[in-house]
């Protein structure tokens, strides 16, 4: 089934120069396995195609059930030259949580709801 990430994960984002960076965290191990498979750099790049002009990098971290995602050239040159309200990229994580992936219906968080 199609599932938005906010139902199964949590996330925080920030800025460094012209990069927005996101930590995406599974609430549990079965969900982490799904995130690792479904949240690919290509899909993230497509989700952020309007704001991210550079490549998307992604590192899985099994020890903390997390994906580290970096959007290059995503902040109009950097926080202090950006024209946006969210010049610091703090809401980029919320944008990611709206992305939908294919996930089994029996993930713990989906069963609970």
């Amino acid at each position: 089934m199609r599932v938005p990430l906010w139902k199964i994960a949590h996330a925080r984002s920030g800025d460094k120069a012209d990069r927005a960076d996101i930590g995406l965290f599974a609430w549990d191990a079965p969900t982490y396995a799904v995130l690792k498979r479904e949240v690919t750099p290509e899909r993230v790049a497509a989700h952020f195609r309007e704001m991210c002009d550079g490549p998307v990098e992604l590192w899985p971290l099994d020890n903390i059930l997390a994906l580290k995602i970096v959007l290059n050239r995503a902040l109009q040159g950097g926080a202090a030259r950006s024209l946006r309200m969210d010049n610091l990229g703090k809401v980029v994580a919320a944008q990611l949580l709206r992305m939908e992936i294919e996930a089994p219906a029996d993930l713990p968080r989906l069963r609970a709801s």
Binding site: R12, D15, K16, A17, I64, A66, L83, R84, L97
Partner: protein
């Protein structure tokens, strides 16, 4: 068994120090590590210094110490803060003056030498290209517009200041985590090539450097943020590190917020690029081997840090003038709030075009609809909004264009679409800054680092 407790101070210039009081009173801390400098805070301080040569330091260091020092002195707590900004000596003089007036005693040290703006040509003559780390662009493209340029120093000079007996260490730009790593090295006698221990210290510093973000603040989640207890009295994180090279994270009893696996791992990855090689001046951390043992009751033990040798270079961050931003905001109520914002944006675009202004970029956002979520905003209820604000910004090289642009908006109140609110005055031009990250051989900078100690 000897252990050291470091508590988070501020997480940015303008943060609150009220939670620091609880850490000192009830958190058992020995040191407060306070971070006042975000990537571009130095641009603000540079403007202060241009107006007044004795300024150029973060102004919140002094009132924080003026309020907390009697309590800190009673508990034997030392402060390490980068509030020196571009003028650590100036910050020390201001603090020393206040301490003398109040009859307080303290040994105050400064660490300086991080500013390289005055040495850029010298560094290039020594063979450092100082090219942009990400784009490879040459420094010449921005050299004449550079407003500040500072190297991130490591923990070593702070440790030297502590060895000299400092109760308060004021630095300029240092790696944020160095503020916490230094007291650990100093108290626990870590060697500068014990990479795993230094990596644990870097982990501690990184988890403390954003104050409340390490203890449940800004917990990015769909609904779970509402379960963080008592935001109004959120306690800042505290780390206790012992000789066994593990770190116990907690916060002062009776404070709000939460220390858990979830709140800590959000902060662990915050503003990190490659988590397998998190660079600092003192060590490179691989986050993939860290283990988090959540013991409940706001206690999490972190072990397993692995580090590798420190880099041969230091990172410089410079900021350069990059034009001006003009902006205007206007709010419309139902009916057709969004449609009226859209119409207003077309009117403004027409006026800008007719004036022939040199505008490099224009950003159109609808506050209440997409100003934060951008292209990922959900349009389902766009045409039924109760109210909507139009925000339009431009980038231009001409300050007078940026100023004139803001003056286009009030006119819409009488001559545009109906039901306008929020006319709160015109927004003037705001200077925009480009950021210039570069690498420099560390010995070229470290040779100029100075530590000065003053007993008050």
């Amino acid at each position: 068994m000897k252990s050291v407790r470091v508590g988070a101070g501020l997480g940015f210039y303008g943060d609150s120090w009220q939670p620091v009081r609880a850490s000192i009173e009830r958190g058992g801390v020995h040191y407060i590590a306070s971070d006042h400098l975000s990537e571009l805070t130095l641009a603000i301080l540079q403007k202060d210094r241009q107006k007044d040569a004795s300024a150029g330091y973060a102004r919140d260091g002094l009132p924080m110490l003026a309020e907390l020092w009697p309590l800190a002195a009673k508990h034997g707590v030392k402060f390490i803060l980068n509030a020196g900004g571009l003028n650590p000596q100036g910050a020390r003089e201001a603090i020393a003056r206040t301490f003398r007036d109040k009859g307080w005693k303290a040994t105050i040290a400064t660490v300086s030498g991080d500013s390289v703006l005055e040495h850029l040509d010298e560094l290039r003559a020594a063979g450092e290209p100082l090219a942009h780390m990400d784009t490879g662009a040459g420094l010449d493209t921005v050299r004449s517009r550079m407003l500040f340029a500072n190297a991130y120093l490591g923990a070593q000079p702070i440790v030297r200041a502590l060895e000299a007996g400092a109760d308060i260490v004021l630095t300029g730009r240092v790696a944020d985590a160095a503020l916490s790593l230094a007291p650990l090295v100093h108290e626990l006698g870590w060697r500068w090539d014990d990479w795993d221990k230094l990596a644990l210290g870097l982990t501690v510093g990184h988890l403390l450097e954003c104050s409340g973000q390490g203890s449940g603040g800004n917990f990015g989640s769909a609904a779970e943020w509402a379960q963080i207890p008592d935001y109004a009295h959120l306690g800042y994180p505290i780390a206790e590190v012992g000789v066994d090279a593990s770190a116990l994270f907690t916060k002062a009893p009776g404070t709000g917020g939460r220390i858990s696996f979830d709140t800590l791992r959000q902060q662990l990855l915050y503003e990190v690029h490659n988590p397998h090689a998190y660079f600092s001046p003192d060590v490179v951390l691989d986050m993939a081997t860290l283990k988090f043992d959540d013991q409940g009751s706001d206690r999490v033990r972190v072990t397993g840090a692995s580090g590798s040798a420190r880099p041969a270079t230091l990172k410089i961050v410079g900021g350069y003038h990059d034009g001006w931003m003009g902006s205007g905001i206007i709010g419309f109520s139902w009916p057709q709030a969004y449609a009226k914002c859209e119409q207003a944006s077309e009117i403004i675009k027409t006026l800008v075009a007719e004036r022939g202004w040199a505008v490099e970029d224009m950003n159109v956002e609808y506050i209440g609809y997409n100003s934060l979520l951008g292209a990922n905003a959900d349009p389902t209820y766009r045409d039924q909004l109760n109210e909507c604000f139009l925000r339009m910004t431009i980038r231009t090289q001409e300050r007078k264009v940026a100023d004139a642009y803001g003056r286009l908006f009030p006119w819409l109140g009488l001559s545009g679409p109906p039901y306008v609110g929020s006319m709160k005055g015109v927004q003037g031009a705001k200077e925009l800054l480009g950021i210039w990250p570069a690498l420099v051989r560390r010995e070229l900078v470290e040779a100029k680092v100075e530590i000065a100690v003053e007993k008050v």
